[in-house]
């Protein structure tokens, strides 16, 4: 509750007022009084504004646009983001770059906050944000769950030696998660054998998905974590020869921060993000979504501990950031790990490589014999570093990045025309430079890099607050067809930063209080062929979202999106002539809390799709109603009932769903039927919280669900999920 009872007697705050007002210049008198009153209200009610539990579900929906494909493992990206948001940023010690990393504040607001901090010293309460120019209530409510004004109890050294601090830290949790599809799938049935004892492929492991995670961390001090995961169908075995020690995926990290000149030291699994993410990007990117301004620029976050379960997007080894001078920081890292790839032997003795791989496998599944054969077959060694300069004011930042990758077996993609310029060989060195400069209400940023192939990529953008109510953004990108960045993920239409040029324009307007209009228009060109696109092609993509927040707890928005890209038509022509496919989508969303214990959400989304300009429109539609009730203090129940009706798989609908903490599901619904789920969140004791989730999709006019090894006999697919969190 961020309520300011201005009728509150000022007697409470009189002393505060006296003490604080002496620090203000005289002309700020009015502001001072206002602040004092706000503070008084704060102290009168509570010393510190109680951070609301973050509505991560709502936040991700506000930040992300609709999901476009199954190729991007969105769940893990969300998890990374959610974990990032779990560590609140201290408003009193955060640098400009830290605040940008929140993705919720405009550059103007950040500048105002820093100025405010400079003039008046640290904020005493979150209530004080109301007195910072440029902070409207909507921004404060959105950011409140992720920020704090408490400084972390003095310097780390004063709180005892490190092992003791780790041992005594309250911010720790052990997670156990179990998932299973209740119906029997083909992959788990007995295989019919022929006379030679051969049969069709089956999964090797049980259909249970298990996750164990422990993490203890303290912001700007240390982080220690262990993760073990087994996907459905994977084996739980101890097989040192096959490099498997129990669970299929194991990860651990230990990170210490702020130890004098040593800013960060990470051992184990970590991620890196510098510049605009052209060379090093750590999954904290949102891409083209409904937030058209603040998410366009990436933040140089540096070294981050990794505790997610995406099996391909991290480095394993060591990384350190050192303060060379007050304005200069140097980071060096080295990583050596094995990645999944299918390794083949050259059939031709004159071939360039005797043994080569046609590409990386990023799914992280090792369920069948063939998937297991590809497990960790390629050794990847990466080393590199970054040198960053940040001016004392924080207005100018610039840096250099180097990433050197070495594989023990050559990469050679399938000899298709669209792979002509893809990375091949065993070695790639990428060098880049990035910059950021703020002046007044304009922020420019960019990064340019070159890979050893001679290909280069550049991404440059601008954010400007033209008026208190108008923000605009622009971004130009160009990635040549032979530019190879293996860990980069700067803004692009393709899933990788290669073979693309683009021009993005974004806008955000708050014409009247409580209303917000955001829009973007993005044009892109692909100078070379792509998979399923047999010629150089182009397209565009635009989005408009109108948001109305009638009260503090309710939100309505309507969103339109159109995307046009060229693809080969399905009819087999000797020379493919890509035709523009068009997809329009609409989303209406209503979220309200009529009472403190009851939450209601309605979601209508639909899309229509046309493969060529001459073909008929296909349509897809989903209507979902959610309700969430708090029963007493220990139980929260959430449920959804959704109906879907799509003409084809091309018009499948991706619908955000609530899930157990840190999990995220965005199932693709196609066909006709209903989707239902229920979640119970039970706070058993102060230490133990339980989540139970049961979800079912029921298809009409279908006798089977899924295909291949995932096929289920019958029209239903039911998933059960349970998670326990224990805090020591």
């Amino acid at each position: 509750m961020l309520r300011v009872p201005l009728n509150d007697s000022a007697a409470y705050g009189s002393t505060t007022h006296e003490a604080k007002a002496s620090r203000y210049p005289q002309k700020r008198r009015f502001k001072a009084i206002l602040t004092a009153v706000l503070l008084a209200a704060g102290t009168a009610q509570a010393q510190e504004y109680v951070r609301p539990t973050p509505d991560l579900d709502r936040l991700t929906q506000e930040l992300f646009a609709e999901i476009q494909s199954d190729q991007v493992p969105s769940e893990d990206l969300y998890e990374t983001l959610l974990q990032y948001y779990q560590t609140p940023i201290s408003l009193n010690t955060a640098t400009r770059e830290d605040l940008r990393g929140l993705l919720l504040l405009s550059e103007n607001q950040i500048s105002q906050l820093l100025t405010y901090r400079q003039q008046r010293g640290p904020l005493l309460s979150l209530y004080e944000l109301q007195a910072v120019p440029g902070f409207d209530l909507r921004t404060i409510y959105r950011a409140a769950p992720f920020v704090t004004v408490q400084t972390a109890g003095g310097t780390n050294g004063l709180r005892g030696p490190l092992w003791q601090r780790v041992f005594k830290e309250d911010n720790n949790a052990l997670f156990l998660r179990y998932e299973r599809v209740l119906q029997t799938r083909t992959g788990y049935t007995a295989a019919p054998l022929d006379s030679l004892g051969r049969g069709p492929t089956r999964y090797l492991g049980s259909p249970d998905k298990l996750l164990l995670r422990y993490r203890v961390s303290h912001a700007k001090d240390f982080s220690l974590g262990v993760t073990a995961e087994k996907d459905a169908g994977e084996q739980l075995t101890w097989n040192p020869n096959g490099r498997q020690y129990g669970a299929d995926f194991l990860s651990a990290h230990f990170v210490v921060q702020e130890r004098g000149k040593l800013k960060t030291l990470a051992v184990g699994d970590y991620q890196l993000q510098f510049g605009q993410g052209l060379l090093l990007s750590s999954g904290l990117q949102v891409g083209k979504g409904a937030e058209t301004i603040t998410t366009l620029r990436r933040s140089s976050i540096g070294v981050r501990p990794y505790s997610s379960i995406l099996e391909s997007t991290f480095f394993r080894g060591a990384a350190a950031t050192v303060e060379v001078a007050p304005t200069v920081r140097a980071t060096a890292f080295v990583s050596r790990k094995r990645v999944d790839a299918n390794v083949q032997l050259a059939a031709d003795s004159l071939a360039e490589f005797d043994e080569f791989s046609s590409g990386f496998l990023l799914t992280g599944f090792h369920r069948t014999p063939s998937e297991r054969a590809n497990r960790q077959t390629l050794r990847e060694t990466v080393a590199g570093g970054n040198l960053s300069y940040t001016s004392r004011s924080g207005h100018l930042a610039a840096g250099l990045t180097a990433v050197d990758t070495h594989f023990d077996k050559a990469i050679q993609r399938r000899p298709e025309l669209y792979n002509q310029y893809e990375f091949r060989g065993t070695h790639n060195l990428a060098l880049g430079a990035h910059y950021t400069y703020v002046r007044g209400n304009v922020l420019v940023f960019g990064e340019t890099a070159r890979s050893s192939s001679g290909g280069w990529g550049t991404v440059n953008g601008l954010l400007a607050s033209l008026a208190p109510t108008v923000d605009v953004s622009a971004l130009v990108r160009h990635y040549t067809r032979n530019f190879h960045t293996l860990y980069g993920n700067a803004l692009s239409e393709n899933t990788r930063n290669i073979n693309e040029s683009g021009l993005y324009l974004g806008l955000k307007v708050r014409p009247v209080a409580r209303w917000e209009v955001s829009a973007y228009y993005d044009q892109f060109w692909f100078p070379w062929l792509k998979y399923d696109v047999g010629a150089p092609s182009r397209g565009h993509d635009w989005l408009t979202r109108v948001t109305y927040a009638p009260t503090k707890t309710s939100l309505l928005y309507a969103q339109l999106r159109t995307r046009q890209k060229a693809y080969n038509p399905s009819s087999g022509q000797p020379i493919p002539q890509p035709e523009p496919t068009t997809r329009h989508s609409v989303l209406l969303y209503y979220d309200a809390n009529p009472t403190p214990t009851l939450g209601l959400r309605t979601r209508v989304q639909g899309s229509r799709y046309r493969a060529t300009d001459a073909s008929p429109w296909q349509r897809g539609y989903v209507l979902a109603q959610d309700a969430s009730v708090a029963v007493g203090r220990r139980l929260r129940l959430t449920a959804r009932y959704a109906l879907f009706d799509t003409d084809s798989y091309d018009t499948r609908q991706y619908v955000f769903e609530q899930d157990v903490l840190y999990a995220f599901s965005v199932p693709a619904l196609s066909g006709q039927g209903t989707r239902v789920y229920g979640i119970a969140e039970i706070s058993c004791t102060r230490q133990l919280t339980l989540w139970l989730r049961l979800a079912e999709t029921h298809y009409r006019h279908q006798t089977t669900v899924g295909s291949g090894l995932e096929e289920i006999q019958g029209p239903r697919r039911t998933e059960f999920k349970a998670q326990a969190r224990y805090r020591f």
């Binding site: 033209l466 014409p511 228009y521």
Partner: protein, 284 residues
Amino acid sequence: MAKRYPILSVLLLTGFISHAQGSGPGVRGARAAALGHASVTLNDVWAVGNNAAGLGQLSAPTAAVYAENRYLLSALNTVALAVAAPLGKVENGLARRGVVGLEVQRFGGKLYNEQRIGAGYGYRGGLVSIGARVDLLQLSIEGLGSRRAVAVSLGGQAELVPKRLVFGAYLYNLNQAKLAEYQQERVPTVLKAGISYRPTAKVMLNIETEKEVEQSADFKAGVEYRVIDALALRAGLRTLTEETTGGLGFRAGALQIDYAAAWHAALGLSQHLSIGLSFNAKQP
């Protein structure tokens, strides 16, 4: 791009000329071009071509020249000259009897060209402006002779929220002038409607939609930001032609210079330049 795919470019271009340009309303002034042609709410001298109603707010005699080149092909040049003058007394920056404007324009090269002479009139009363324009068009194709036609256009502008929100609409060629009996070839009839949001004196956001009877609807948007009084930056887009535009404008006393560049996804660069001179020392 155009160099790389000559056949594609020629095909597209011929299609482009026969439809989009084809003696339609076109764009006037580099300011309008930089805003992605979202110009139906503007009220400078080029309103004589963009929306005659905008002429009504002119308070001083003004002359301007405009030059445009599309896709770096000399056959796609446009040049235009416009003059506008208030009638009767000017009170509080408004001409009591409206403003009259005259424009001559030529598009094309030796093989195909269009000339037009247009006369427009705009009147402003209260928060509403109305305007009308008559065009004398002449199309010439080498070896095929030329055709003439008369097109009548009407426009209106209204301030829905004074100085904040402006609505504009313009109907070009409401009489559906015929150019040839063969295939009922007519001068395009185009209806444009748009809104301009001006949160502060420095910022202008325009959105506009344009529909020609036989074409898909075009959606246009533009933003103008006056960094300082003498300099304005602009950006915009058009969805139908997939063009992104940008430009800048300088103002020095009575002189106004605007430049715009547009990038078409397939055809490349277009450039627009306009220079205007206002014959009145007193600038509002």
